[in-house]
């Protein structure tokens, strides 16, 4: 800052150059999705045309995707599953977090240990027994199968995050409500929850993006086209044998990413708060 000219070169070198390279690396695949999805097949599979830009843009792949495949149905399924499993996870997460944040009870340590352990169990460890369980329950090829299993991935995170938020509510507020005759449940619902809105938004956004992202359980449990989610539908039905429908695949990838990206862009700050809460506070 003191030596202006040298400062500028240093700043370009220490800030703009690495930042530019990172942004290029991070965003190029999205650019590539968009460019590819707008090209005609003729242009897409020609080696003579410069591929980095679109010469004759067409929406054909989008039209085909929507009219010839069940993409809209998959999008709806993904949305329904993500919303319901997020709601379940927030409810159960709060039910776990509040007592752990505020009360003394026998087994509290065990419960918090179990939550941490659940968080760390990688999904591939459970898919064989869960596949068997889902079959025995007759839930194969139903959205219920994933609505039931996704919260197992989301609850520990939600509980962990909400725990931190519940702790920030001043105990005096709760004591005052209790003295005025409110029961514990009333105190929780009327005093604590309204103060923890940001926590619920953070946990909700995070859970929602994770639910949209899930693939393994959906791949195993959902094998018919009417119940598929976007990731599974794209992989299973836009690739036929060795034939990849690249234009449609890229259109699907872009359209499938947009809902998450939009919700994320509205709540970036909450999302980052959720992302960093676990590791930075600890």
């Amino acid at each position: 800052m003191t030596v202006e000219r040298r400062g500028w070169t240093m700043r370009a070198l220490k800030l703009w150059l690495p930042l530019g390279v990172s942004l290029l690396f991070a965003l190029f695949p999205f650019y590539w999705m968009a460019v590819t999805s707008l090209k005609s097949n003729q242009e897409l599979y020609s080696r003579k045309v410069m591929p980095l830009v679109v010469h004759n843009p067409t929406l054909k792949h989008y039209v085909d995707l929507i009219t010839e495949t069940n993409f809209l149905e998959w999008t709806w399924n993904t949305f329904v599953v993500a919303v319901i499993s997020t709601a379940i996870s927030l409810l159960f997460g709060a039910m776990l977090a509040y007592p752990l944040a505020r009360m003394r009870f026998a087994g509290a340590t065990l419960v918090s240990f179990a939550i941490a352990a659940t968080y760390l169990v990688p999904q591939p460890l459970l898919f064989v027994p869960l596949a068997d369980l889902i079959n025995r329950l007759g839930l194969g090829d139903t959205l219920t199968s994933v609505i039931l299993t996704y919260p197992t991935l989301l609850i520990p995170f939600c509980a962990w995050l909400l725990l931190g938020y519940f702790r920030t509510v001043p105990v005096e507020l709760e004591d005052a409500a209790r003295i005025d005759g409110a029961s514990r449940l009333q105190t929780l619902i009327k005093i604590v929850l309204p103060l923890c809105g940001p926590g619920f938004i953070s946990a909700g956004i995070f859970a929602f993006t994770l639910a949209q992202n899930e693939f393994l359980y959906a791949l195993i449990f959902l094998t018919t086209t009417e119940v598929r989610t976007v990731p599974v539908g794209a992989i299973a039905e836009l690739v036929k044998g060795d034939v990849f429908y690249w234009g449609q695949l890229m259109a699907a990838a872009l359209l499938g990413s947009i809902p998450v990206a939009i919700i994320y862009s509205f709540f970036v700050e909450h999302y980052v708060a959720g992302l960093t809460a676990g590791s930075v506070k600890g």
């Binding site: 179990a114 064989v128 794209a234 994320y264 980052v272 960093t276």
Partner: protein, 309 residues
Amino acid sequence: MTAAAAPALERRRPAFSLGRWLEREGVFSWLMVAPPVAFLVALVGYPFFYGIWISLQNRPVAQAGEFIGLDNFIHAWHDPIFRQVVLNTFVYTIAATLLKMVGGLGLALVMNQEFRFRNLTRALLLLPFIVPTVLSTIAWQWILDPAFSVINWLLVFTGIANPGPSWLGNPHLAMLSLIVVNTWRGLPFYAITLLAGLQTIPPELYEAATIDGASGWQRFRYVTLPLLKPVIFIVTMFSVIFTFADFQLIYVLTRGGPANATHVFATYAFDVAMGAGQFGQGAAIALSMVPPLALIILAMAIYMRPSKS
């Protein structure tokens, strides 16, 4: 007992104390905690132990199992593909984690400067992390396509190579591609979390170090790094666990190929259980990732000891 007074007292007390009983911390807590705990026990705890039980059986899909003890594990141990899988998983995890750690720390340090549009930049850099992995991996698959790879187009165009390599067809390049794509996806998580960690370091510490004559590198080495260690530890632990158990990225990009060169625990277990229908063997392969994973985490915990700082 006098007949007149006692019933009245007794009747009042139970009604009164049920409400009170529910208000007791222990009772209220367990009423709250019990439903989610039951849910997790049913869908995580029970499947976990049931998975161990399946791994001890010869269990073709949709048939009754037959108890065979540790045969599935012994079979895996002698299976050359399984050995390849173990090696692949370690290479993939270690390389991707190191890249994410170093790159993420670097990017966090860059982002920790004051500049315009910082929040927008941060939001854009996080995009790879929030977009569904399968969808972004499909884009990468197209970027690395054998015939129409844009990277190869650039290589030919700039005259570096002609023709460009087959990124997903060559065993080493396929592994390299997976590591790069995993880094692409996971690096923002590292960077943003470490950035949040950096911002909790009080600036006075840097001022004090500067007054004591510390150079830029020394400030990084003796102020930044020790204070960031707990955050690095947690982020790395998460990253190691989820990279080690990664499924979707590999399943989409290579399906474990070419010739098993990129198969990892999760994809191989999936192939054996779902593809070949050998539930018992598949469960055994999946469970085999627990001991090495536990060892890595233990080693990291000992080496990094977050409690120190």
